[in-house]
């Protein structure tokens, strides 16, 4: 595909995949850690079990997906434009914590989320160098 000035929606899709896989990885590591903590009082093999825990393996797989997705993002967008989007991991993690782990959301979390979202929208809509979509 030739270089052009249109909005690189494919790159934004990859950023979303990168953010979601990082958040999913963190959630899986949390579930895995909680299960591992319950077993810490058991025998030494419990430590090995921790690393064979499907949640840990799933978390590592998510981090692998995140790495590849981020690499593809860096090929399509300038770093200064792409990197601020990674701040979206915080609100997504908070949503997972509230919805899945029944944690509390406070006002400063809510206002912080809105500011991060607003900042990311500003960065996304900012004029930048022409970007290349890579086939």
């Amino acid at each position: 595909m030739s270089a052009d000035r249109h909005t690189p929606w494919g790159a934004y899709g990859l950023i979303a995949l990168s953010v979601l896989s990082q958040s999913a990885g963190a959630a899986l590591f949390k579930v895995g850690s909680e299960q591992a903590r319950e077993r810490l009082s058991e025998e030494w093999w419990a430590i090995i079990w921790t690393w064979l825990n499907p949640y840990f393996i799933g978390g590592l797989a998510c981090l692998g997906v995140q790495t590849i997705a981020w690499m593809l993002v860096l090929r399509r967008l300038p770093l200064s434009r792409a990197y601020p989007f990674m701040a979206c991991v915080l609100p997504v993690n908070l949503l997972i914590a509230v919805l899945y782990f029944s944690e509390q959301m406070s006002w400063n979390h809510l206002v912080g989320m809105i500011l991060i979202g607003g900042g990311v929208v500003l960065v996304a809509s900012a004029e930048s160098e022409p970007v290349k979509e890579v086939s």
Binding site: M71, P84, L94, H109, S125, S128
Partner: protein
């Protein structure tokens, strides 16, 4: 000075360096490397740097509160954008700078 704070600040600086290395490995006109570019030396170095950041952050988080760590970690965003502007001569508009500032304030509020 507290060793944990030094580890945290080094981790923040290295995050910026790691992102710049990964971007350098994925610049247009790059040479072809195995595994879709994952084995590009700069990519390997960048990923290694990020692994080092994880170790430093793990050490720092053992001594510094998560709120303090998250607040300081917000410095990553302006640092990385500044690094990209200096190293890769990327154009950073006023709107993008305002956006990064919004993100930083949002992260600071998050960590309260």
């Amino acid at each position: 000075m507290n060793a944990a704070f030094i580890a945290m600040w080094v981790a923040i600086g290295l995050t910026c360096v790691g992102q710049l290395l990964m971007k350098a490995a994925n610049m247009p006109g790059r040479k072809s490397y195995p595994l879709g570019g994952l084995l590009h030396p700069l990519m390997v170095l960048g990923l290694g740097t990020m692994f080092g950041v994880t170790l430093l952050a793990s050490y720092a988080l053992g001594h510094v509160s998560l709120g303090t760590f998250t607040a300081w970690n917000a410095a990553n965003y302006p640092l990385t954008v500044l690094g990209a502007a200096v190293v890769f001569r990327e154009h950073v508009s006023v709107r993008a700078i305002l956006g990064v500032m919004c993100v930083c304030v949002g992260i600071l509020l998050f960590s309260l």
